[in-house]
Symmetry: C2
Subunit: 401 residues, 2 copies
């Protein structure tokens, strides 16, 4: 508890945009968010009052962060499990706990757990040698997808492998790999669920996530054209995983939709890009819900606030280049507001680089193509300085099931 | 501009809840909010990264605050006009400017300006002597309302005067008074408008404000049963005032509704309690809009997100007493969330005292009595530790026109 307010202190490892947006939610709830950042210019460090500079791989820094905090939680998965266990052993509350979190940190651990539970997932194998990859490829067909078990995100650490020769170099560089069949997917979905230590769960409508170059680009809520049956199946799957792993806080289950149903891709145990739409699009945002869940407060309503909500990421584009000669950021924000007075902007305050997640926009409405066109055009204008009305539709059809 | 982000730095005088909620909006827009607080435990100082401690009556502190900021604005009206003029003369942008702001600082200045513009307002007079008050009372009938021209808020500085004798003591204590007829009002309304230096304006639906003991207790959006004609008249009045005074930023026009129409009570040139409902209840909140307006960004959509939105203040009640033996604040927040999973909480982090504005809750829905009962019951539970389902209705009828 914060003696100044009588309300909890939440310590969050990581100073990125997820901490930044969690802070907005913490302000409303009267809570004090303490952030562990590696640099004072990080997204959350720019806007929070209680910033500790340190390294999430150093136990001493984590101990200092946890001191006096009601609970310790995360904006990324990169904290070593043994450090988290040490914090738990010292009596600190850590949410999600290390035994749950490892399933979001290590893709092999996740695959084994899902296999043991009989949950749907792609065919997979653990590969330590070229022979392992060759045998798996022969079984499921080439190409296969190879992943580093730990440390990958936003398409990093994921490789398409067309034959055993390609595997050799990857194995040499990364050691043990997770290899998976290349799923003939129709599209990607995500199911968001929050779970409290008490065991209460709350699910949001299942969304479609549209990736570009391995990075989430758009989120459509609810997933257009998804049958009630499949939506319910995805929500129930997410709740089962949250329960069986003992997740505390937000869980995002990334899914492949195939002709035969859904398969689990991977998990995130924190607020996740696929849930940013909830800030305006649901009665309770994923950020507020994460705080409620890790503090064992009752969870909030996940009802949508509009029939259709689309979030589009602003990924660093042409405007992030040093030789960009068009309107600067502030001027682009002016134009954005003039052109789309009802699109909501979230800018993370980060240094601009090509491909970096710099912010997102959210549009709400009734009609999927209209709302989507609005969100994507606004995001793309911020990133690339151009308005291309055709863009929203050019790859629309290829992602429809 | 903040060199770290390429986006504006907004300096806000005052560390109260209005700054706190403005900070939430600034985070989304990528802006840096710098706050002048008198104490590090003030509401906004608890949650913002850039806090300057100082006195809003000291020019040196204001100069330090304005240094390097894109614009300087306010969460209260208590900055001396001559200091603001000095900042303007030194080349700083101040929004609203001192010539506009004085109409929210000095009720006599406002009355004179409205009279000159022919806007509807109660009969009034400037009273320097008992004779002035006696003459005015004889003209409009007793009792009259006497107000200190400056410094009043939340019912402070407002007195009901039943005869000349009562006026003597007030005049001795406060000097010149504004005296007004006691308006036979049906209810109180408020019209919110934002205006940018460019001259763009944006209005929200007119709301009903329900006062208790001179303090705003509930806000009903839109004002139930208000005719389109009167609603439009109130919005047009607010826009005219914003234009004619050259307001930059938010303007709240507090109104009396009488059998004959509307009369201007007073003005606030900043985010105002009557607009807190816009955080969840409108596409653009008054806090975001204030930032957009003072920075001369295009203004955002003011469309409502639900047919009925009710905000209820949490005013320090029985639970603020030292001998309160019931559930503590954190436990009450737990119960609130369990009982009202779709009511949105905003807690300001302030020390609890009887009658102090400690937070507010917002409920959304379709039916005024239902939404209102939910909001008021939730707020009252936080304040007094009791749930009284009859409360929302006991004074419902007396406020209906």
């Amino acid at each position: 508890m914060d003696p100044r307010t009588g309300l909890p202190v939440v310590a969050m490892v990581g100073g990125g945009q997820l901490s930044r947006m969690t802070h907005q939610a913490a302000i409303a709830l009267g809570q004090s968010l303490r952030v562990l950042a590696t640099d004072p210019a990080e997204s959350a460090a720019l806007v929070t009052a209680d910033v500790q500079l340190g390294d999430h791989r150093e136990l001493a820094d984590l101990q200092r962060l946890a001191e006096g905090a009601t609970v310790l939680t995360f904006d990324h998965e990169h904290v070593p499990t043994e450090h988290l266990q040490a914090l738990v052993d010292a009596g600190h509350r850590v949410a999600p706990g290390p035994a749950a979190l490892v399933h979001a940190q290590d893709k092999l651990v996740l695959r084994r757990a899902l296999a043991a539970a009989g949950e749907p997932q792609p065919a997979w194998a653990e590969a330590r040698t070229v022979h392992d990859v060759a045998a798996f490829g022969a079984e499921v067909g080439w190409p296969v997808v190879a992943k580093t078990p730990r440390g990958g995100y936003d398409g990093k650490g994921v490789f398409v492998v067309h034959g055993p020769d390609e595997a050799a170099e990857l194995l040499e560089r990364h050691g043990t790999l997770l290899v998976e069949e290349r799923v003939p997917m129709l599209r990607e979905l995500a199911a968001q669920v929050a779970r409290s230590p008490f065991g209460q769960v709350a699910v949001w409508p299942v969304v479609e996530t549209v990736q570009r170059d391995g990075v989430c680009n758009e989120v459509l809520a609810p997933a257009p054209g998804l049958s009630d049956e499949l939506a319910t199946a995805a929500q129930e799957l997410a709740v089962r995983i949250a329960d069986s792993l003992g997740v505390v806080g937000m869980l995002a289950v990334e899914l492949f939709e195939t002709a035969d149903g859904i398969l689990v891709n991977e998990l995130a145990m924190r607020p996740h890009n696929s849930g940013h739409w909830t800030i305006e699009g649901a009665r309770t945002s994923q950020f507020e819900q994460h705080l409620r869940a890790v503090l064992d407060y009752p969870l909030g309503s996940t009802a949508m606030t509009a029939p259709v909500v689309v979030m589009a990421n602003v990924l660093g584009g042409a405007t992030a280049d040093e030789d960009w000669a068009g309107p600067g950021l502030d001027e682009r924000v002016h134009h954005l507001m003039a052109h789309w007075p009802d699109v909501k902007l979230h800018w993370y305050g980060k240094t601009q680089r090509r491909g970096r997640k710099l912010g997102h926009v959210t549009a709400l409405g009734e009609d999927v193509p209209e709302v989507r066109a609005r969100a994507v055009a606004a995001a793309r204008y911020l990133a690339d300085g151009v308005v291309d009305p055709a863009f929203a539709f050019e790859h629309d059809e290829e992602h429809r099931p």
